[in-house]
């Protein structure tokens, strides 16, 4: 479904990704793990169009995404849940979800999408008139994912969903992500919490200093000694 | 001696001899224009000391006005010689700048906010001058009380050539100060501050002190420029010296010429003054306002199409032309 071939990207003089090649098949859940500063967020931003790739190819469902702006890529069916959630703090929960369905394709199925999101995250239905900024971290993360679902995507990009959340909340969150996956969405998640995320996904890539160092089935990777020792926990 | 040095020396010689070159009947007018260019370039350079570090002030008219009015009022009412009055004006202006700069630096008022605060200060000064019309003359302005004949003490001279040389020296002093700041530790500190204040503070750079220092220096120099202007024109007016109009013109000239280079403000000022004069001569009294209209239009176009200024763009072009030559020589 999604394929990156030899993508290089960065900011100004700084190159954050070197020669990155990865793929995500329809229906899969794939993770990209790695330490801080390895370029995981840049990777997400390249796919969603916030950062332009300097070289390489970016293909989604046989269509090239090269040079496309962020708001165009959404209409192709990719939803990006950014690092730090980035919900609209002064808008209500309901309005945040409304914004998720901004583009015409999503607006048509708005009512149906909303029901689906509220079923997955009942707490959002409870708090729909509340200012999004007053929600707890975990609730905000749910809102951010719900908002992405409102755009009726095929592929969901999750950037560090567990960041800043208490361990109990992290477990609940990953359960919810599992449920989202079961609804049929393809997922690409970037995470520092290696242990938890490997339990969730089919395959994973290891990104270090901008390069893919390893890839394989999640079960195999979690066996790797140095992965366990170096990146365990937090 | 490099080409640049030779050209510079030649230009300086030309300027020094200026008043004695045969100019036909245009002599006095050209001297007048050159004096304007020198003084406003000096002022532009003073502004750029702040502008180049991200402290974009839209209120330098305040410092100009404070400098000009202080020296004029001290002379008119107390017969205080402008040599002392000018210093007093500069000191007063620096104090005002300190009062404004301190909270701005402490509370991290930067960018658009800072521009608008300075705009407010400029307006406050202008309105205060107009409000206190009993002794400032209000919107009608104030004339410098004439001294009897030429007077060094009163800094008033009938011969424009004296002002020409004085303003030439002033301009050169301004360049020297710019150069010294550029080479100083302060420059590195200010650039760090401009890029990331918190990071700069964390390595021990005393952010407030540097920002205040550069603001006070800029304000003081601008005030001196105001003093020079007042002494030459012998007339001060709140709208020509303290409003947003004059503040914008200064900023335009500097950005047009190039904010980050020594001669940028001079190039920009010379061009904008020359342009202004050309347009004024072209339209004369026939289409009042048309000259300024075209001026405004050209400024918009320049900003859109030449964002790094004329000097900056020229330097880029020259650098790009020089590069292939160097490359070729290296591969031999």
């Amino acid at each position: 479904m999604l394929e990156l071939r030899r993508v290089t990207a960065g900011y100004g003089h700084f190159t954050a990704l070197w020669d990155v090649t990865l793929r995500v098949e329809a229906g899969e859940a794939v993770a990209v793990v790695g330490p801080n500063g390895s370029g995981k967020t840049t990777l997400m931003r390249v796919i969603s169009g916030l950062v332009a790739a300097r070289t390489g190819e970016l293909v989604f469902e046989s269509a090239s995404l090269a040079g496309r702006k962020a708001h165009e890529i959404v209409s192709h069916g990719i939803a990006h849940v950014p690092e730090g959630r980035r919900i609209f703090p002064l808008l209500t929960v309901a309005d945040n979800l409304k914004m998720g369905a901004f583009q015409p394709r999503a607006r048509k199925g708005f009512a149906e999408s909303l029901v689906r999101v509220y079923d997955l995250f009942p707490v959002l239905r409870e708090r729909q008139k509340q200012r999004a900024g007053s929600l707890s971290g975990g609730e905000q993360q749910m809102l951010a994912i719900g908002r992405a679902l409102m755009s009726r995507p095929k592929l969901i990009l999750l950037d560090e969903p567990s960041m800043g959340l208490a361990p109990v909340m992290v477990l609940r969150l990953f359960d919810l992500i599992r449920r989202v996956r079961e609804e049929g969405y393809t997922i690409l998640v970037v995470e520092q919490n290696v242990r938890q995320v490997l339990k969730l996904v089919d395959r994973a890539y290891l990104l270090e200093v901008g390069r893919i160092r390893m890839e394989g089935r999640a079960a195999e990777l979690s066996e790797q000694d140095f992965v366990r020792k170096a990146y365990v926990g937090l | 001696m490099s080409l640049g040095r030779v050209a510079g020396a030649a230009l300086l010689a030309l300027l020094a001899l200026g008043p004695f070159l045969p100019m036909g009947g245009m002599g006095q007018y050209l001297l007048h224009v050159m004096i304007q260019i020198f003084v406003w370039s000096f002022i532009g350079g003073a502004w750029s000391l702040m502008g180049r570090f991200g402290l974009v002030s839209l209120g330098h008219g305040a410092f100009l006005g404070l400098g000009a009015y202080t020296v004029t009022l001290l002379w008119n009412f107390y017969s205080l010689t402008p040599w002392i009055g000018g210093v007093a004006a500069a000191v007063f202006t620096v104090l005002v700048a300190a009062v404004v700069a301190y909270p701005c630096s402490r509370f991290q008022v930067v960018g658009h906010y800072f521009a608008l605060v300075t705009l407010a200060v400029g307006e406050v000064v202008r309105l205060l001058i107009i409000a206190e019309r009993n002794w400032t003359g209000g919107s009608l302005g104030l004339s410098l009380r004439p001294a009897i004949g030429d007077s060094l003490l009163a800094m008033q001279f009938a011969d424009k050539r004296v002002f020409y040389y004085a303003s030439l020296v002033l301009w050169l002093v301004g360049l020297w100060i710019w150069y010294r700041v550029d080479r100083s530790m302060a420059r590195a500190a200010m650039e760090a501050i401009g890029e990331d204040e918190t990071a700069a503070a964390s390595v021990g750079i005393h952010v407030t002190r540097f920002k205040m220092g550069i603001t006070m220096l800029s304000a003081g120099l601008t005030a001196v420029g105001g003093v020079a202007y007042a002494q030459y024109i012998s007339y001060v007016n709140p709208d020509t010296l303290a409003g947003i109009g004059v503040s914008l013109r200064i900023v335009f000239a500097v950005v047009l010429g190039g904010m980050y280079s020594l001669l940028g403000p001079t190039v920009g000022t010379a061009l904008t003054i020359a342009l202004g004069e050309y347009l004024r001569v072209l339209f004369g009294l026939r289409f009042i306002g048309m000259a300024e209209t075209i001026y405004g239009l050209l400024l918009i176009l320049f900003i859109i199409f030449l964002p790094s200024g004329i000097y900056g763009s020229l330097r880029d072009v020259v650098a790009r032309l020089a590069r292939p030559a160097r490359l070729a020589s290296g591969l031999r």
């Binding site: 708001h71 959404v74 808008l91 | 839209l58 909270p103 307006e123 409000a131 918009i300």
Partner: protein, 288 residues
Amino acid sequence: MIDPIFLVEAAVNGVLLGGVLALLALGLNLIFGVVDIVWIAYVDLVMVCMYLVYFLVMVYGWPLWLAGALSVALGALLGLGVHLLIITPILGKAPVNQLLATGGLLFFLQSFATFLWTTDHKTVRLALPILEVGGMFLSFTRLIAFVISLVAMLGLWVFLRRTYIGTAIRAVSQDREAMALMGANPQRVYLVTSAVGGAMAGLAGALLIIQYSVHPFFGAAFGPLTFMICVLGGLGNMVGAFVASFIMSEIISIGGVVISTEMGYVIAFIVFIVMMFARPGGILARRG
């Protein structure tokens, strides 16, 4: 001592003035908050619309309400034009360049107006009565302008809160990038915002020409004041701008009666500078 009735009258006039100032401030704030660029020439756009209404009503004999409607339309068009021609090329450039682009527009508009219409003051005289309420004299014209301003601001509030595009505009002002991830083309949102801001300038123009006279340098009088109100209320904060408008207008009005017109403005500006230091984020600062 001043007769208290003059103070109350000044206070009431302050409120009436505040209404129209709020209209200006909200329009400017809207654009400021979304596009993140200062339109230094905003009030000069108002000036152009004021001239339009003047000519339509005084020279061509149009009814005021129709001229006002056209003024709103012109304002919206001007807003679009400014964004397309001047703002779009400088998006993302250095702030000083952005300030100068609209600064150049200021010069252009003021001089062009001087060229076209000279520096004579022009005003639209309405034969509306002066009301006497409890010993105070209030201009009916001012009252009508105030009411219309309030209605317009209410309309704006409804637009921003209840409509889809209005909510999108608010969202962009809170997080531009996140909104792009929702599929919103930032340029389209900017254009709508600029048109609405321009329309408000057009309406303000129609309401101001019946109270004040227009001349090419009208922007120099009301411009700085409008900016300060926006910043005082907190950038992008509509409620803040609304409140700040009345604070400033009260200071100006009462100060004007107690001391002098200019000092009223001076005090208001000094209050602004002091507030900038006390609460740099604006008096109702919510966003850090």
